[in-house]
Subunit: 334 residues, 2 copies
């Protein structure tokens, strides 16, 4: 299996990207095709005993920066690592594309390049999220700032597939993120989506609320991309700020400081649990190809795990699973 990796994407490219991908090549028995500035990538590769590994480099003369407006960038930068990486997969040189680059650009490039799965109106980005007992999955986290009820229904079906096939959850509990439990709660989008998801032959547990997200109530949490993006980023910010507030308090007393050192030295399990990097990247579901989008701050471990996720998506043929499921559960039209 060949995984195409955008060597230029993210805040720590190419150093951490190459490092993570090398680790993946060693551990997962896969080939890695790096796409990016050949000179820079090869300089990184020189740090490792990469000669023995199945890695290659395809030169891409351009880079789409993190802050660039995606639509413009995709039009102008045909030679970008994102565009060339996607193309390599489309043309059969690779099986999946992994990038920590500009999310909008990766999404746009995949959507244009791979096309949508027949029956799917809008692809969605799905992210794994830690809960009190394990993890849940939330989608969409930002591909669609505006949705219709049918989009949300399709997100539910795609989330169900991903949760069961890739995350190994048996009969995933699917919840609709809303502002109350009753069927009539929320705005018209969510009231209508509730009805559609209910008819979709899923293990639908109904509406869940914000406080249930980390409470291990649902395995798949469905929402529009605006709400999902705010929630995801808020969670990141809150966890960051809570930890920083705790540390600040701990500094105030020497005995407490000693106690804190004891506590933090042991809290590895927790750190692992709440660490984004453990879950790898977020798949773009609903396109005719495997595309894993990593967080812009991804370092080696996150990249390695994203490549693992990509490998699993190819092995399980997640695209075919979605295609089949959308037909069975929704009588999807196009």
């Amino acid at each position: 299996m060949k995984i195409v990796v955008d060597a230029m994407g993210g805040d720590y490219a190419p150093i951490e990207i190459v490092k993570g991908a090398i680790e993946a090549a060693r551990e997962f028995e896969i080939d890695i095709i790096f796409v990016g500035d050949e000179k820079k990538v090869k300089a990184e590769l020189a740090k490792y005993d990469a000669g023995k590994l199945p890695v290659s480099v395809v030169h891409a003369p351009e880079v789409i920066e993190m802050g660039e407006p995606p639509a413009v960038a995709l039009r102008k930068k045909k030679g970008s690592s994102i565009m060339i990486g996607t193309k390599l997969v489309i043309e059969g040189f690779g099986d999946a594309f992994v990038s920590a680059g500009n999310t909008g650009a990766v999404m746009g490039s995949s959507l244009l390049g791979f096309g949508r799965v027949k029956g799917i109106h809008r692809p969605a980005i799905a992210s794994v999220f830690p809960t009190i007992k394990g993890f849940t999955m939330i989608l969409d986290i930002g591909a669609n700032a505006e949705c219709d009820p049918q989009n949300l229904q399709q997100f539910a079906v795609m989330g169900n597939i991903y949760s069961s096939k890739i995350l190994g959850v048996d009969e995933p509990k699917v919840g609709l993120l809303n502002i109350g439990e009753e069927e009539t709660k929320g705005n018209p989008l969510y009231v209508e989506a509730f009805k559609l998801i209910k008819q979709s032959n899923l293990n639908f547990i109904g509406n869940i609320e914000g406080r249930d997200i980390t409470g291990d109530v649902a395995d798949v949490i469905v929402c529009d991309g605006f709400v999902g993006n705010v929630v995801l980023k808020f969670g990141e910010g809150l966890a960051r700020d809570l930890m920083s507030m705790i540390k600040e308090e701990l500094k105030k007393n020497i005995f407490v400081k000693i106690g804190a050192a004891l506590v933090f030295s042991q809290a590895k399990g927790l750190r692992k649990k709440t660490d984004y990097a453990e879950y790898g990247g977020a798949p773009l579901l609903g396109v005719n190809g495997v595309c894993i989008i990593c967080h812009g701050t991804s370092q080696a471990r996150a990249v390695k795990n994203a490549i693992r996720v990509a490998k699993e998506c190819v092995e399980i043929n997640v695209v075919e699973c979605i295609k089949k499921s959308i037909g069975e559960r929704l009588n999807g039209d196009d």
Copy 2:
């Protein structure tokens, strides 16, 4: 000044409500009018040396339960503590209404009873939220599951007034909660709201993202009630679950347990910082009267602080401030 308090609202009514209101009567030099089951309220009052305090009880034969559909409850239960409490303020027997009861019913009763401030299309519930350095305010947190751009603009104006007049923030930084910083980010509702808020003569800092909520970036955070409600409840759930995860980890080792005891015994400042009860209730802004909605789980301290907030809203005449500001800043029509 007379504050009307719903003695029957919330999970800990009437015990904690009465306790908190008695404390408020002692500290704030205000009269308290309890509304609720006279016998039950008087039984609670008997626990305190309340004879010397300016408290009275108005009997309300009915209670709207926390889970009841608000519209139906308000129609059927004219004798509920919420309906009678609101009426007392409308008829001039009290200056403000405080309730930890069914949020939808309190809101509906206030909206119908007080009416909207001229020029305000939709009232909003504003909640104070802890940040890394202090606090911010977010509105709407659930009064409006669906909004138009003008609603969001008006929330910005009302939030600005509340932040400066009640929370004492000098020239509050107003941010629009969105999924990216650029002016063009988000869905049409937010793109349009951005333009309107920009024209509103506020200290508008533009779009902020989920990760900025607790980051002390904005003093007033504007969003629709669907997003605000999800964020608020998610924050509560995440803080609850993170603390519980931390405690679970700490149990695993005796030395860590000792360290943890040292840490937690000193972390009062943090607890105070992140404690909802410190900030009292959430004002319903945009109605012609002062109505403070408390969390359903409010205990004595939260109730006391909500009464303090009510008192301050009356002193500052927040209704008049909003009326004036909406005229000046928006050329508000009705």
